[in-house]
């Protein structure tokens, strides 16, 4: 999302807005502060974006990474429980980490501004359906035991969702341990629980 040194004025302002709003919320930061952080005058901000709300919307359109996880996963499946779950976890956390600041903004904004929450929280539903279908298919292939596939999918997703939230909010539980070791441990719990 960042790291690029060659940013134009609009991009610098959007990045400043994202950084500040992720920390203090939409109403917790002023256009003056955003412009100063970006290194421009407030006037320039309004010349580029007309309004504060439009600035946030533009930032979402520019930086929200909305790759279809379902499609991504279908391509990479190899029908090996451990390999597939690892792949799903890693992709999920990668995307959540890329979008972490926009996700923080949308959780703080809530439903005050319309549409943002929907965009950052669109994945869970389709992921749950994907994983439920995956477990059903794996059962038909005789590779896992019969369980409540939908509940398992929910548990797996919430485990990763909770971990992603903890990571983006600097949960002290994550201090020191990289995300990948958590992913491996959490996947092995499910493989042990579901193996025939």
């Amino acid at each position: 999302m960042n790291g690029n040194k060659k940013m134009n004025t609009s991009e610098k302002i959007m990045m400043a807005a994202i950084d500040l709003m992720a920390e203090h919320g939409y109403n917790g930061v002023s256009t003056q502060e955003i412009a100063t952080r970006a290194g421009f005058s407030e006037k320039t901000l309004f010349r580029h974006f007309q309004s504060k709300q439009n600035l946030l919307e533009s930032a979402f359109n520019r930086y929200h990474y909305a790759e279809e996880m379902k499609d991504l996963f279908l391509k990479k499946i190899v029908w090996d429980l451990q390999k597939d779950l690892l792949m799903v976890c890693r992709s999920y956390h990668r995307i959540m980490y890329q979008n972490r600041k926009l996700i923080k903004i949308s959780t703080k904004v809530g439903d005050s501004l319309p549409g943002f929450r929907e965009r950052t929280h669109q994945h869970p539903q389709q992921l749950k359906e994907f994983l439920t279908g995956y477990f059903e298919e794996m059962y038909k292939k005789g590779k896992i035991i019969e369980t409540d596939f939908e509940s398992n999918a929910k548990a797996f997703l919430y485990m990763n969702f909770g971990a992603a939230m903890g990571r983006m909010n600097n949960d002290p539980i994550f201090a020191g341990t990289p995300i990948d070791s958590f992913i491996e441990a959490s996947v092995s719990i499910f493989t042990r629980a579901l193996r025939p």
Copy 2:
């Protein structure tokens, strides 16, 4: 947290503040709106609380349920994996649900106001240590297999944390299914994964 009909002025105002701030955040609601929602004039709000920030702090002191989960769990342990994990989950979700509005406020406030985040998010660290110790003891008793106990504790807690967050934010995944059936399914995953 609510439901009591015999509330005095201060309590009515604090409840109104909690309701509105949980939805729109601290900066997203005015003292005027809070007073109107509570059925009083803005002047009365300031007579009782002096400042907006003090109102929020008073509401936290009055309504934040900070029971020591660790102590609670230690009393109820029976050293049966399924029974203990069920007890932990149910207690955890009960407390998270009681505090849900204050938790929503503190996630929106972030670190802008000092101290709130710490209070609503104090549990994870001590719960992780409790669960890690519990798994070690269960291993010594020969009731579960040897694994990375701390990682298992993290995974278990994040699964429940994610589910609690989803529930308090009306995640459509939870629509229709009660929390208890999720708890049972998630616990049985861990019991199957850890049984010798």
